[in-house]
Amino acid sequence: MDIKTAKKIVCEAGLNLSQKGLVPRTWGNISQRIDKNRFVITPSGRNYNDITPDDIVLMDIHDLSYEGSVKPSSEKRLHAEVLRNRKNVNAVIHTHQTHASTVAAAKCVIPVTDREVQNKIGTSINCTPNAIPGSKKLARLIAMALDNNNAALIANHGTFCAGENMDDAFEVAILLEKICLKFIEDSFLNHTGRHAPFDIKEMHEYYLTHYSKR
């Protein structure tokens, strides 16, 4: 893939991510592989609504050196680690989507049993142990949690979604959010011994009745 096309893909994906509510403001980041030695990634701290393809940063996948004056995302190391380890992955999205982040706060692992979902995500959605954001340790843990799957949860942080191309990675992120919502709903129903359908008002009333301090 040429650099110009990759930067355009990342820029459009950023807007799409923001519009779909998967990342508020500047959180989360996106990368696209160019070849076995290079990838492009979103810049640090910038709002997706005001970046252009020129703001997307070209990076070396091995030594993390970058071109130009715009600083790459502080999570660049995590993207590089996944792109180095998974030759079949060309696009990576890191999001702070709400349902998946909630499950990541509880450090739960979600087994995937549906055959169709397994084809897109893999057999399990694992969660990393704690590590400092952007650190080498976290990069290693994410690669381990991803294993051969396309989605992983980052404890106390968010999610990592991978795909053969950006559309696939996007599909994984959206599917992951749906799976995590279902996991939250099932957790409530199992915890309380209630039967489906899930009702959010009922969950809040139950919480206030049983767990309120007042």
């Binding site: 640090s44 701290g45 910038r46 909630t102 942080h157 199992n190 969950m203 919480y207």
Partner: protein, 218 residues
């Protein structure tokens, strides 16, 4: 920005906040600082008024809590925050579902996600303002806001502070996420809090460095 422009600015954000569910027909409000004045989107019991003429302009220098008795109670608290915190120019009173439930539950919420530690701080307190006089309520809220950008008002949602409405809106989104984690992880065996020292370091890094990145990194 003059008062008329400021009222239009608030009206624009009232629409955005209602569309995104941060405020509702029956609750929540906005205010902003323009120079040494505060403009407050007044509310009535049934719906949020969008009429710019119904918005209240207050001179912050002369304001004494309790002076404007016909205004909503939270009016005093907004004014107290503007007087005490020079970097705050916009406040959103959020009544999103998880924020509202957490404000009723009354727990101190500790961050379980790093964006919560960065944007809000090391904890989110719930303040009981109903039984306090206007002056005391302001003091309680300010104490709970030390090094923090959001506070829950008991049974009444939360206040989200920002340098502008865009910042305050981001705080309201993160506050909602913090409350969602607190509630929903209860049914997953409990959530895992971030180490308080690490949370404090994240907050400091955000205030001193990352929040300025958008302007610097061009």
């Amino acid at each position: 920005m003059n008062n008329i422009e400021a009222k239009k600015y608030i009206r624009k954000w009232l629409d955005i906040m209602q569309e995104t569910g941060v405020i509702s027909e029956s609750g929540g409000c906005l205010s902003c600082r323009i120079g040494n004045k505060m403009i407050f989107s007044s509310i009535n019991s049934k719906s949020i008024s969008r009429d710019p003429d119904s918005m209240t302009v207050v001179d912050l220098a002369d304001f004494k809590p309790g002076k404007a008795s016909q205004l909503p109670d939270s009016y005093n608290i907004h004014a107290a925050i503007y007087r005490a915190k020079s970097n705050v120019n916009a406040i959103i009173h959020s009544v999103q579902i998880n924020t509202l439930t957490s404000s009723k539950a009354g727990h101190v919420i500790y961050p379980m996600l790093d964006d919560i530690a960065q944007l809000i701080g090391t904890s989110i307190y719930t303040v009981d303002i109903d039984t306090s006089s206007a002056g005391k309520a302001g003091k309680k809220v300010l104490k709970a806001l030390k090094w923090r950008s959001a506070v829950l008002l008991e049974g009444n949602g939360g206040l989200c502070l920002g340098n502008n409405f865009d910042d305050a809106h981001a705080v309201s989104q993160v506050l909602e996420k913090a409350c969602k984690c607190e509630i929903e992880t209860t049914f997953m065996g409990g959530g895992h809090r971030i180490n308080p020292f690490l949370a404090f370091a994240m907050r400091c890094h955000y205030i001193l460095s990352y929040s300025k990145e958008a302007e610097k990194n061009r």
